[in-house]
């Protein structure tokens, strides 16, 4: 992820581009699966040498299948990198103020010829999640609550082997809060895109958004909230 401009502050600073390759995570998963298979295969060989033939054969077969799955995943990741350039999201400003409606330009180019398509619609979702951690004895529990789920439209076209589209993003002021990262309490924003025909391996890609503690004055459709209840009762009741 390439970050330019101010990463966090009260005032949005500059334009911002996020680039991401779908294959990188898939490649890591593939390598992980293949490694597990290789270790299991080693275990099977030890079993065979120790005379446990039935165990060794069964375990060895399982290990070979696991290795194949890992290599298949790795191959698909390589295909992704061979066929597609990284996806690019061009934000007009970064971070994103509360109440803002930035238009995000989304681009993905293919390295191989693909047919033109004048209307491509990508399913998008914007989520804001509260995540809290608390200790119970020696365990640390985590709870999450999705406080924003919006589905903005991402419509574009494929021409000259490149998809170009515009995402109408909307950061609400009546739900969620600016990005926050404390030790036990976090608020994070994500944009996920189901790339469909714009990928070979992965249907959904997720991008971290940075929402800053600023309010877009152009957004005047909101009023101050009623006072919160006194005391701490609502959470602990």
């Amino acid at each position: 992820m390439a970050i330019t401009g101010s990463e966090y502050g009260g005032v949005p600073v500059g334009a911002h581009v996020i680039t991401k390759t779908a294959g990188s995570m898939s490649a890591k998963i593939g390598i992980g699966i293949a490694s597990i298979g290789a270790i299991a295969f080693g275990g099977a060989l030890v079993g065979l040498l120790a005379g446990a033939t039935a165990f060794g054969v069964a375990f060895g077969l399982g290990a070979v299948i696991t290795i194949c799955i890992g290599l298949y995943q790795l191959q698909r990741a390589k295909d992704e990198e061979r066929l597609w350039h990284p996806i690019e999201l061009h934000f007009p400003t970064w971070g994103l103020p509360l109440g803002s409606n930035p238009q995000v330009a989304v681009t993905r180019a293919s390295k191989k010829p693909i047919p033109d398509n004048p209307h491509v619609e990508i399913v998008a979702a914007v989520r804001c999640t509260e995540r809290v951690k608390y200790d119970v004895g020696s365990d640390t529990k985590t709870e999450t609550e999705q406080v924003v789920l919006d589905r903005p439209r991402l419509v574009g076209a494929i021409a000259n082997n490149t998809f170009q589209g515009t995402l109408d993003l909307s950061i609400p002021v009546d739900r969620g809060a600016p990005t926050l990262s404390l030790h036990h309490n976090e608020i994070f924003w994500e944009l996920s895109l189901q790339l469909g025909q714009l990928t070979t391996i992965q249907r959904e890609m997720t991008f971290d958004l940075l929402v800053v503690a600023a309010i877009d004055r152009a957004e005047q459709r909101f009023v101050d909230a009623p006072p919160p209840p006194n005391g701490l009762a609502p959470y602990d009741a």
């Binding site: 009260g10 200790d135 600023a214 909230a225 919160p228």
Partner: protein
């Protein structure tokens, strides 16, 4: 529970301030009219002011403070100052969410020698940049028409 300093008076210009801005507060410690029995006489050394936040809710608490201002008092425990308590631009805002809440207070403590300090916590709201005229309570706002 701490008792409030009977000789301390303060004026807070506004209870809502934006991140990157701050709170104006005037502090004054002087004998009140008719005060005849000041138990803190000769003990009060200074008045400290700091802005603190604390989370509350399902998760364990996180807290922090911004700035720490000390107003020195004379040997009679008297003094005054106008302070501007700054809020950093990356400070969390006051928030009333689903799993968590973030609350701010301006903490004023009178430092007393060999005694429990007197003090008071003033509830304040830290709003997003550009939201000082809109917010009176913690974020989020409510759908409606201004």
């Amino acid at each position: 529970m701490r008792s409030q300093d009977p000789l301390l008076s303060y004026t807070l210009a506004t209870e809502v301030a934006e991140v990157g801005s701050g709170f104006h507060i005037s502090i004054s410690r002087s004998p009140a009219d008719g005060e005849t029995n000041d138990k803190t006489f000769g003990k009060a050394r200074s008045v400290r002011v700091e802005l603190r936040y604390e989370t509350d809710g399902r998760g364990d608490r996180d807290s922090g403070k911004f700035g720490s201002y000390e107003v020195p008092l004379d040997r009679f425990g008297m003094g005054s100052a106008d302070l501007f308590v700054e809020i950093p631009p990356d400070a969390p805002i006051s928030y009333d969410g689903v799993l968590m809440r973030i609350q701010y207070v301006l903490r004023i403590r009178t430092d007393l020698q060999i005694s429990i300090d007197h003090g008071i916590d003033l509830d304040v709201v830290v709003a997003p940049t550009g939201g000082a005229g809109t917010y009176r309570y913690p974020h989020p706002l409510t759908s409606g028409t201004i």
